[in-house]
């Protein structure tokens, strides 16, 4: 009974994973026979002049670090307001903050490309309205701000998820703890640091891991907004793998990029899980 489902999984996920590892050691271009060339692809990736590896890696790390910490920080902050400060309509606000999560990424990117539009986009229009013309810029065309603009899109999508998760976690903390704390004279700040934060630590650990993983799954955001531009300033590893593998049909080289990405993702998750294993 288990076989048909697992077979689909094996054919369309497991085998491609193995193939990726194999192709990364060959010069296959999708048509002719593949030649085994050892680690040449990796050497080219790491040392070649034309390789975009380091800029893509830097952008991936930027995205991973800020795309994990900022949404989680905002999520805890908001959940604390909505749940601990007994905000009325807490449920409705959760619904609103979560909504970007369910929109198609095409819609999201259309909205944000338009918001970031330099000539008549709403963001520059607001800045102009407030008399802050000096801050107006081409948000997706300026190499210095493009990664921050993309991060703004990503946080918009992601932070509502964390808010909802932490709301659920905080609602699970027993109210007696807070009542006891109040009798002992603890103010809201003490309550947050000594009851709420320890109470959600389990959820926090798993949410950080989920955010790290999802911060790597942003191929579509880059694809739909900047296509790696301007120049190569918003290249990320998965977009680099896409252009090499599907546009330039250098399958071997592209596979080497994918494997590097996988190694990066798995080692970050493994280190993180090791670090937090004791606390669980």
């Amino acid at each position: 009974m288990i076989i048909p489902g697992m077979a689909i999984f094996a054919v369309f996920v497991l085998i491609p994973v193995i193939q990726t590892a194999y192709y990364s050691l060959t010069d296959w271009n999708g048509l002719k026979e593949a030649n085994f060339i050892g680690f040449s692809n990796y050497i080219e990736l790491l040392t070649s002049e034309t390789s975009r590896f380091y800029i893509a890696l830097k952008n991936n790390l930027f995205w991973m670090i800020l795309g994990t910490t900022i949404p989680i920080f905002l999520g805890i902050f908001q959940a604390n307001m909505l749940v601990r400060h007994q905000h009325r309509f807490s449920h409705i606000w959760q619904l609103i903050f979560f909504m970007p999560q369910i929109l198609s990424v095409t819609v999201t990117c259309i909205i944000w490309t338009w918001l970031y539009e330099p000539t008549n986009g709403p963001i520059n229009a607001i800045l102009g309205f407030l008399g802050l013309e000096s801050l107006q810029t081409s948000w997706l065309g300026n190499p210095d701000v493009v990664m921050w603009s993309l991060l703004g899109i990503y946080i918009w999508i992601a932070y509502g998820f964390d808010t909802v998760v932490f709301c659920a976690a905080m609602q699970g903390i027993h109210p007696q703890y807070y009542e006891a704390a109040v009798i002992d004279g603890a103010n809201l700040r003490h309550q947050f640091w000594h009851i709420t934060l320890p109470g959600i630590s389990g959820t926090l650990i798993s949410t950080i891991l989920l955010q790290i993983i999802s911060s790597f799954k942003v191929l579509d955001v880059v694809f739909l907004t900047t296509k790696g531009g301007p120049g190569y300033h918003s290249y990320i590893l998965s977009y680099y793998a896409y252009t090499e593998g599907i546009k330039n049909i250098r399958v071997g080289y592209s596979a080497a990029i994918s494997i590097t990405l996988a190694i990066l993702l798995f080692s970050v998750s493994a280190v993180y899980q090791k670090m937090t294993a004791k606390k669980r």
Binding site: M1, I2, G5, M6, I8, F9, F12, V13, L14, I15, P16, V17, Q19, T20, Y23, L74, F77, M81, H85, H87, Q94, I96, F98, M99, P100, I102, L103, S104, V105, T106, V107, I110, I111, W114, N120, G121, P122, A125, W156, F161, V164, V165, A168, L188, G202, T203, L210, F216, D220, F223, A241, Y242, G245, I246, V251, S254, A255, S258, L261, L265
Partner: protein, 277 residues
């Protein structure tokens, strides 16, 4: 009840107003712009409210992007994906939970491994394999990889629910001579209904919104799904902001309605993994 000081409440209200604008204003502007004419947009600027509700953009956008075809394609792809995943996920989770068989450990590891595989890692070989199988430019090139990629999460979720069902229920059914298949169908599946609904909604939204897979696999205009419709639109009418905004509203509307109806189940489905662990 703990008393919240007034200044904290005021601070909260300000912060929530800021975040709500961040989350809502982009969507709000897109909706208002969809009711404007292009002439009005240039005359009054982006931030002004529409002078009157101009509905003409809607039929025009619908026609221009042949959304009716895309809509049917999306429905087909999504329904098949959701149904097949639900069916296989119950089968696999049931076997992994209640039966002992050769290779069970391996199957368990495969599911856990599958949870971590990002699409980005496998897309290149997947594209070439599907080309070789002759499935490229068919709906199966979207459906089959979707099933394979999302099945592990659905199995994982069902398993965590199944483990909380009382074992005695299964044991007594077995004592009464019920076959495994019957236990699965008549006892376990009805009890799993909430979890099944959650994973189905989750898979529905993911499939409906999926962008990269159809982009890579589908080139024929007739077979495109809704998210690609907006894409085609963007390149054809890149200067036409009002029409593009209208198309975005058309695409997002079914999902938003769906979200408002099923919000609780959907949010549970999406967040249960994080809270449960």
């Amino acid at each position: 009840m703990i008393k919240i000081p007034a200044r904290v409440k005021i601070f909260d209200a300000i912060m929530i107003a800021i975040f709500a604008s961040y989350s809502l204003l982009p969507v709000f502007w897109v909706i208002t712009t969809s009711f404007k004419t292009n002439e009005e947009l240039t005359r009054n600027g982006t931030l002004a409210l529409p002078e009157h509700f101009f509905l003409g953009n809607y039929p025009e956008a619908w026609e221009a992007a042949s959304f009716s075809d895309y809509f049917l394609n999306s429905v087909f792809v999504t329904v098949v994906t959701v149904a097949v995943i639900a069916f296989f996920a119950v089968l696999i989770a049931y076997c992994l939970c209640y039966l002992n068989f050769f290779g069970k450990k391996l199957a368990n590891y495969m599911i856990l491994f599958g949870l971590m595989i990002p699409f980005e890692l496998i897309m290149i070989p997947l594209f070439h394999n599907i080309k070789k199988m002759g499935l490229i430019n068919t709906h199966w090139a979207i459906i089959l990889p979707q099933i394979a990629l999302w099945l592990p999460f659905s199995v994982f979720l069902l398993l965590s629910f199944m483990r909380e069902l009382p074992q005695s229920l299964i044991d007594s059914a077995r004592l009464d001579g019920a076959k495994e298949f019957r236990i699965m169908r008549s006892i376990v599946t009805p009890l799993l209904k909430p979890a099944l609904i959650s994973i189905s909604i989750f898979n529905f939204i993911s499939s409906w919104n999926n962008y990269m897979l159809p982009t890579i696999m589908i080139t024929s205009d007739k077979l495109k799904t809704i998210p690609l419709g907006l894409d085609a639109f963007r390149t054809k009418f890149s200067m036409n902001v009002t029409l593009t905004c209208t198309a975005a509203v058309i695409i997002a509307l079914p999902v938003i309605i769906f979200y408002l109806i099923f919000q609780r189940r959907l949010i549970t489905g999406l967040t249960v993994g994080a809270v449960k662990e």
